[in-house]
């Protein structure tokens, strides 16, 4: 325990040194037991800073190094690599977080200095006990899972598969395609959404390396990076998809009716249905909730007409287990439900619709075959009001964030409306028009040039009056109240995560932000990774984004997966909980508390005596330490976070 510990305090420019009095810190720290050398540096993470740490480690023959700097999530690995390069075991380097948890939150210089000393002292106490650890090598399953079959999921799956690795693509709906399949045309080029998407859907379906599991959901995940076991729930389609050839005979005769989800309630679908004609795979499912057979048992017309006898009313949900090394989360978005939102008349009048409904109206394959007709009576609307920020940028009642894509799609909607109804008025209410993107400003300009009227102001109320939908708003440029009698209103609803993503996050133990979007590992530098190794993010499930951004992120996530798969083995974190076989009483408490099944009781010869002791499966241990705190005889010891070590850290943090 007579370690020579070096302490290096980083100024981080003025981020730390502007508040914490570094000379005072050094004065105090150098008197601590075991501290052999103290240094400071303007930027420890810089090349000269790292070299200084390396030189110090060598010249002072240090046994452990404490770097007092920013959060360990940022530079722990940097400094551990640095000391490793000069022959010190990387686990003998500890970080004292005196930036995020000290200098940035403590304005008073004296108090910040004292707190910095306390934090460094705890880490010095820790370093005093640290043992050299060796990472544990584990094999990598070079097979990926992509959850979500929208454009982001499809792109990620294709990129990984084209690199030669197998991919399991899981989609909750009967078809892949996601929301992009519902769109009419895409900004800013106005190319047909389905025309560019369906070839990708088919490519994913036919790809020899991609296994498509549609109408399926992730039920359970266990394991760790490189070695996940995923249990996938396959919802019953009540049709044997291996027998079915997608001829569609069953769809013709089925008597069941329900609002089509794909057309967002503006058309009907049957009980046996495929979401849209280009569905991939081209296989129908039976919706048991409205199927006459399931309700009364008196209909079996689909079974009667099916030429291949593929209908299976007795099909049950089933589970498949997939072994994968990485998981891409591409769960996409849903529109914010505005039913309870202020006085927008959503749900009260059919002619107040959301952006995706308008996409379906504009789509050649939509309920009106691309003709602009309003839902209530099928009349061609002569005046359409478009309301931007419907629920977005509304701290009090809606979502505080900007949904990013609405300015552009509203410009597109207004423009496409003008293309189809030449004498129609298109009026857009906006707070700001945000056109950050290639060709976006020009596209917005084109909309205004083509006669779309932009009114700067928020809408307060929308209500039906006779044949019209009346919109109350304000024009904040003239300071006037505005009242518009429109035939139809299109809302640009805020984007939210899908409701299913909450459940998925629970299963994956993946972190989400306060709005429910999946959290990236670092907002700037690790935008496609998550804090859980082996999970990657693609598309709008991580935050609102348009198609090119979703696709770019998907390719980024795929690249990270491919990078991971380029390793034959991965190293597993070693601060696992071992066992002191002498002390172990074989009670088995830790077996029950271990969430990973990493501990088992075995009969073993310990120093010539047969006894029941715990055997630790090191590869399964995830270092949580639950066993250590549960063990009644202190036989479970978490490496480099032992009880004695923690006690000394506690004491060190309370001194001074």
């Amino acid at each position: 325990m007579n370690k020579r510990i070096g302490v290096v305090v980083c100024h981080c420019g003025i981020n730390i040194a502007g508040v914490v009095k570094i000379p005072e810190v050094l004065e105090t720290i150098k008197t601590l037991p075991g501290v052999a050398a103290v240094r400071d540096h303007m930027y420890c993470c810089s090349d000269p800073g790292q070299n200084m740490i390396k030189d110090l480690t060598k010249s002072e023959k240090l046994d452990a190094v404490v770097v007092a700097c920013c959060s360990p999530t940022l530079h722990e690995s940097t400094f551990r690599k640095a000391v490793k390069s000069v022959g010190l075991n990387p686990y003998l380097c500890e970080i004292a977080n005196i930036r995020e948890q000290c200098s940035w939150v403590t304005p008073d210089r004296d108090e910040a200095t004292k707190k910095a000393i306390r934090i460094i002292r705890t880490q010095v106490a820790r370093a005093r006990w640290d043992q050299p650890l060796e990472p544990i090598d584990v094999p990598v399953t070079r097979r990926a899972m992509v959850v979500g079959g929208g454009v982001a999921g499809i792109q990620a799956a294709l990129d990984i598969a084209n690199a030669g690795y197998e991919v399991v693509l899981v989609e909750k709906d009967p078809s892949i395609g996601g929301h992009m399949a519902q769109l009419s045309e895409t900004f800013p080029t106005l190319d047909c959404s389905q025309c560019i998407l369906t070839p990708k859907m088919v490519e994913a379906y036919q790809h020899p390396k991609i296994k498509l599991l549609t109408y399926s959901e992730v039920a359970d995940v266990s394991g760790y990076v490189g070695n996940f076991k995923v249990k996938v729930r396959r919802k019953p389609a009540y049709i044997d998809w291996d027998v079915c050839n997608g001829c569609g005979q069953c769809l013709v005769k089925c008597p069941g009716r329900k609002e089509s989800e794909f057309d967002r309630g503006m058309s009907k679908r049957k009980a046996v249905y495929r979401p849209f004609p280009q569905a991939v795979p081209n296989r129908p499912v039976i919706d048991a909730s409205i199927c006459v057979h399931f309700k009364t048992g008196r209909c079996s017309i689909c079974a009667d007409v099916c030429p291949l006898k593929a209908i299976r009313y007795d099909q049950k949900e089933s589970f498949v287990e997939e072994s994968v090394g990485a998981i891409v989360i591409a769960t996409g978005f849903e529109l914010y439900d505005l039913k309870d939102y202020s006085s927008f008349g959503v749900g009260k009048t059919q002619d107040v619709i959301d952006g995706l409904q308008f996409e379906r109206i504009l789509s050649a394959s939509g309920p009106t075959s691309g003709e602009v007709k309003r839902p209530s009576d099928g009349k061609v609307p002569k005046r359409v009001v478009f309301v931007q920020c419907a629920g977005s940028r509304d701290v009090e009642n809606g979502k505080p964030y900007c949904s990013k894509i609405c300015c552009m799609y509203t410009a597109k909607h207004a423009m496409l409306y003008k293309h189809r109804v030449h004498d129609g008025d298109a009026i857009v209410f906006y707070i700001d028009v945000r056109t950050g993107g290639k060709g976006f400003e020009e596209f917005y300009k084109r909309a205004t040039d083509e006669g779309v009227l932009y009114v700067r102001g928020k809408v307060s109320k929308i209500y039906r009056q006779g044949d019209k939908v009346v919109v109350w708003g304000a024009d904040t440029l003239t300071g006037q109240k505005v009242q518009v009698e429109a035939d139809m209103v299109v809302l640009a609803n805020a984007m939210t995560p899908t409701p299913e993503s909450a459940e998925l996050a629970g299963v994956l133990k993946a972190q989400r932000d306060e709005h429910g979007f999946f959290n990236e590992a670092h907002p700037k530098l690790r935008p496609v990774e998550t804090l859980t190794a082996g999970y990657f993010l693609a598309g709008a499930g991580q935050g609102p984004k348009d198609i090119p951004e979703a696709v770019a992120q998907a390719s980024g996530a795929a690249c990270k997966v491919i990078g991971l798969f380029s390793n034959k083995t991965l190293s597993h974190d070693p601060p696992i909980a071992g066992i002191d076989e002498d002390a172990c009483s074989g009670c088995g408490v830790c077996v029950d508390v271990c969430p990973y099944g990493a501990r088992e009781l075995v009969e073993k010869d310990v120093k010539g005596k047969m006894k029941k002791v715990i055997k630790v499966n090191e590869v399964l241990c995830e270092c949580c330490g639950a066993c250590s705190s549960a063990c009644p005889v202190a036989a479970c010891e978490q490496r480099n976070l032992k009880d004695e070590q923690i006690q000394e850290m506690v004491e060190a943090g309370l001194e001074g």
């Binding site: 995020e100 949580c624 705190s629 976070l641 009880d643």
Partner: protein, 143 residues
């Protein structure tokens, strides 16, 4: 005038949620009293009752434990174990003559920098109001 009482608080924070939330408080330049010295564990489930009692014996006026929200634990259920343990520790504390309010368990997620700030500020003020922990000499750590 006598020196104002400055509480000494030991904080056990989990790496995945509360420490990340504390980092976010820093990144967002929130400010809170400096009385808590954080010690980062992988999981709040690593907090052994003896660590808490050891902190009190070693001079802490309060102990803070921060973990992931129920259902969000990175290790599946470590926070539930902590949740169950804390009432037991509080009972022990009562028996030892330590007010149970000196121990606080809070769920702070990685996105709740604001909550972390508020919770710490409030806890420090509360302990300041309670005054220093007066443990009988025999229960204090003799070093």
């Amino acid at each position: 005038m006598a020196d104002k009482f400055e509480p000494r608080i030991t904080g056990f924070v989990c790496k995945w949620c509360t420490s990340a939330g504390a980092d976010l408080a820093g990144t967002s330049r929130k400010t809170y009293p400096p009385n808590m010295t954080p010690i980062m564990f992988f999981c709040s489930g690593r907090v052994d009752p003896q660590h808490i009692l050891h902190a009190f014996r070693s001079g802490a006026d309060g102990v803070f434990i921060g973990g992931c929200h129920p259902g969000d634990c990175h290790y599946q259920e470590g926070n539930y174990k902590t949740m169950k343990r804390i009432p037991m520790v509080k009972k022990l504390m009562r028996d030892m003559g330590i007010e149970e309010d000196r121990l606080r368990l809070e769920w702070v997620s990685a996105s709740e920098g604001d909550k972390f700030t508020k919770v710490i500020t409030q806890f420090v003020e509360q302990i300041r109001g309670m005054g220093p922990l007066k443990l009988p000499a025999k229960q204090r750590k003799v070093s």
